[in-house]
């Protein structure tokens, strides 16, 4: 076998190795670009189920919200439990909204409309939150099929929450997650 033939074969082997490695590199690069997802209000649409709890006391809520993909929340219901006292609420679409930034962070405001007490000893609590708005910071995950949320300060405004400054310390640490009800 002459040297020229050997060199030709080596060149073929090199091209066989280099070509797939290059292809892999290009694919990996494109994959990275493809995953640089940009989020918007469209990222949240349809029904979501949520669980939120307060870290330092016995309060939590199961919530259902419907997003329209345009910054509006069109309907929703919730069951909130504070130390065993339970209020059931419906959402007021006119005072409820959300925003999603390109990086997936955003805000969520949910205003209650009607609030029903489970029995007579939570009437005062339920009256307090009637017409009140709750405010959350959110971050979208899994392409919009889930988002985490954490209470902002002030967490409550309106309803029975009046005054200025820290009017809502008890609820400021409310946090949780919402998952799309269909799919996922």
């Amino acid at each position: 076998m002459n040297r020229g033939c050997v060199n030709e074969r080596l060149a073929k082997v090199r091209s066989l190795i280099i070509a797939p490695v290059l292809a892999l590199a290009v694919t990996t690069c494109m994959w990275g670009v493809a995953n640089a997802r940009e989020f918007s209000n469209k990222s949240l649409h349809g029904g979501y189920g949520c669980l939120t709890t307060v870290g330092f006391n016995g309060s939590g809520s199961v919530i259902q919200l419907v997003f329209d993909g345009k910054g509006h929340i069109t309907s929703g219901v919730s069951v909130g439990n504070a130390f065993g006292e339970v209020c059931m609420a419906t959402l007021d679409p006119s005072g409820s909204s959300y925003t999603v930034n390109p990086d997936g962070t955003g805000t969520l405001t949910v205003q209650s409309k009607t609030v029903t007490a489970a029995d007579t000893d939570e009437t005062a609590i339920c009256t307090l939150v009637t017409g009140a708005s709750t405010h959350y910071a959110i971050v979208v995950e899994s392409g919009g099929s889930r988002f985490d949320l954490s209470g902002l300060d002030p967490f409550f405004t309106g309803g029975g929450f009046t005054g200025t400054g820290d009017i809502d310390q008890v609820n400021a640490l409310k946090s949780g997650a919402c998952n799309r009800q269909v799919g996922g």
Binding site: G46, G47, C50, S59, V86, D119, R180, Q181
Partner: protein, 176 residues
């Protein structure tokens, strides 16, 4: 003439597809039903208190028709580090077809203690037999449920008086 029929068919097909797409978009909020709950879940619930009162680990089996057919509950009392086990005596659930929210009622019967020093489970809290009431919401087409205790949350056994069963427990169930 022959060439017009396929053209019409194409137009009709396109219009029908568009109508279906619009219909699907219009009913983006899907309807829910009992069959979306089940058949088997693992659940972890607990109190959301700084000093945790309890956690409860459950396995539930539904018939997907509104009945919870079987289940086990491992009740961990974190303030005394004791564990009691219960077996499901009966269970039911409901679903709101529009919102995907519902209620679940679970009645538990004491099964066994862990190492013999959990007599308080049957003597006082939660008792030999007790019932829990939860609100829940369907997520991921029933793969996950989030739960919050209702009022009354607990009934039976030690939960007597004019306003019994004020209790708080929250958590999630994930399809097995």
């Amino acid at each position: 003439m022959i060439s017009k029929i396929p053209a019409r068919a194409l137009i009709y097909s396109a219009l029908m597809a568009l109508a279906l797409m619009l219909g699907a978009g219009g009913s983006a909020q899907a309807k829910f039903n009992l069959s979306q709950v089940g058949p088997d879940y693992g659940c972890l619930l607990g109190s959301a208190a700084g000093v945790t009162i309890h956690t409860q680990l459950m396995q539930l089996h539904t018939d997907k028709k509104g009945k919870i057919e079987s289940g086990t509950l491992s009740y961990h009392f974190d303030f005394v580090d004791e564990v009691c086990t219960y077996t499901l005596a009966s269970g039911t659930y409901t679903i709101d077809g529009t919102t995907g929210t519902g209620n679940a009622t679970l009645t538990w019967t004491f099964s066994k203690d862990s190492d013999g020093d959990e007599k308080f489970c049957t003597a006082s809290f939660p008792g030999t037999t007790f019932t829990e009431n939860f609100a829940f919401v369907i997520e991921n087409s029933g793969k996950r449920l989030d739960l919050a205790m209702l009022d009354p949350g607990l009934s039976g056994a030690a939960f007597t008086g004019t306003d019994p069963g004020d209790f708080f427990t929250f958590g999630s169930c994930t399809k097995q």
